[in-house]
């Protein structure tokens, strides 16, 4: 069974639309028609939980806010326990397009990989702010490459598809946003086969800016030196 994991923190404005998108999208693949959508509520203080439950998602709740990495790992463990064959990570802010899940699965099957990583740079559907495209992301890509050893066309893209094998190997210990680089690092460590796949990202908000990037770097360096 395919599990879609949606970590959500105070996303009452967009979670309904995101979940609706899953249920309304006409997937051709049979396994996608029966996919299980799991929202991991990360201690939201708004109506995220109620809206997600009403929309028909399975909701796991963090009593207190622990960060996106922590929420994803909770979702991963739940999916493993429930016997998931494939897990999709999907953001709750409505930036991704559910259609990319189906084509991403095709990539996974056709290329025989364990991990599919979304990239905004493989087609021209994503219209991102220029400062992000030409300043922030090139720097992030470079830093990630230094820290993880993998060369990717995108950095900190929350769209991923993981096989069960990958799910068993990858363990997210970075509770906050540095989990992204951590996952990439573990792909390399465990020699998991991976492919990048074009995904569309719609920008309603800027998302993580320079401050967010610096916080990620701080978390990554702390993890390196505090062990």
């Amino acid at each position: 069974m395919i599990f879609v994991i949606v970590p959500a923190y105070n996303e009452e404005k967009s979670i309904g639309r995101v979940l609706g998108g899953f249920f309304e999208t006409q997937f051709k693949d049979e396994s996608l028609k029966n996919m299980k959508v799991v929202v991991v509520d990360d201690g939201s203080i708004d109506n995220t939980v109620q809206i997600a439950s009403q929309a028909g998602a399975t909701v796991l709740r963090h009593e207190i806010n622990r960060g996106q990495g922590a929420a994803l790992q909770t979702g991963n463990e739940y999916a493993l326990e429930q016997g998931a064959s494939i897990v999709v990570h999907f953001d709750a802010d409505g930036q991704f397009n559910p259609v990319d899940i189906e084509s991403g699965l095709m990539t996974m099957k056709n290329k025989g990989v364990d991990v599919v990583l979304g990239s905004r740079f493989l087609d021209n559907r994503s219209k991102m702010p220029w400062s992000k495209k030409y300043l922030l992301l090139p720097i992030s890509r470079f830093v990630n490459r230094l820290l993880t050893g993998l060369k990717l066309t995108d950095a900190h893209n929350g769209f991923r598809i993981l096989s069960r094998k990958a799910l068993q190997k990858i363990n997210i210990s970075q509770d906050r946003m540095a989990h992204n680089s951590e996952i990439v690092k573990q792909i390399k460590q465990h020699n998991l086969l991976f492919a990048e796949h074009p995904v569309e990202v719609v920008y309603a908000e800027y998302g993580q800016g320079v401050g967010g990037g610096l916080k990620i770097l701080q978390d990554l360096l702390a993890a390196k030196f505090l062990r």
Binding site: I64, T74, S173
Partner: protein, 113 residues
């Protein structure tokens, strides 16, 4: 005797009394209390007899006793800060693990707040 000596002495005495108080209230253990008491008594001695550190300072190659105290204090502070960071990091991980455990255990219960 300079005013600063009096101020520091009173402050260290206050800290000493606080340590005894925490110990009596059962909030800190015997060894912790003893360690801190010795520390504050030593601090008071140094304040009353500032020249007592001069000899040690000379021994390790520092000109003044006061400088030695400052160097040692800074080194100790940074080390303690590092230890606290490690500890906080570990607490964070433990809290996350606990949160996750509760979340996975309660997944079958109604989600209403």
């Amino acid at each position: 005797m300079f005013v600063i000596q009096i101020i520091l002495f009173i402050f260290f005495l206050f800290a000493f009394v606080k340590v005894v108080g925490r110990f009596k209230a059962g909030e800190i253990g015997k060894m912790t209390a003893l360690g801190w008491c010795l520390f504050w008594v030593a601090a008071m001695l140094v304040v009353i007899l500032p020249n007592s550190t001069a000899q040690v300072a000379k021994l390790v190659g520092i000109g003044r006793g006061a400088d030695l105290v400052v160097y040692l204090a800074l080194a100790a502070l940074f080390f303690i800060m590092f230890r606290m960071m490690v500890k906080i990091e570990r607490f964070g991980k433990e809290i996350t693990a606990l949160t996750r455990k509760i979340s996975l255990q309660e997944k079958d219960k109604p989600t209403a707040k």
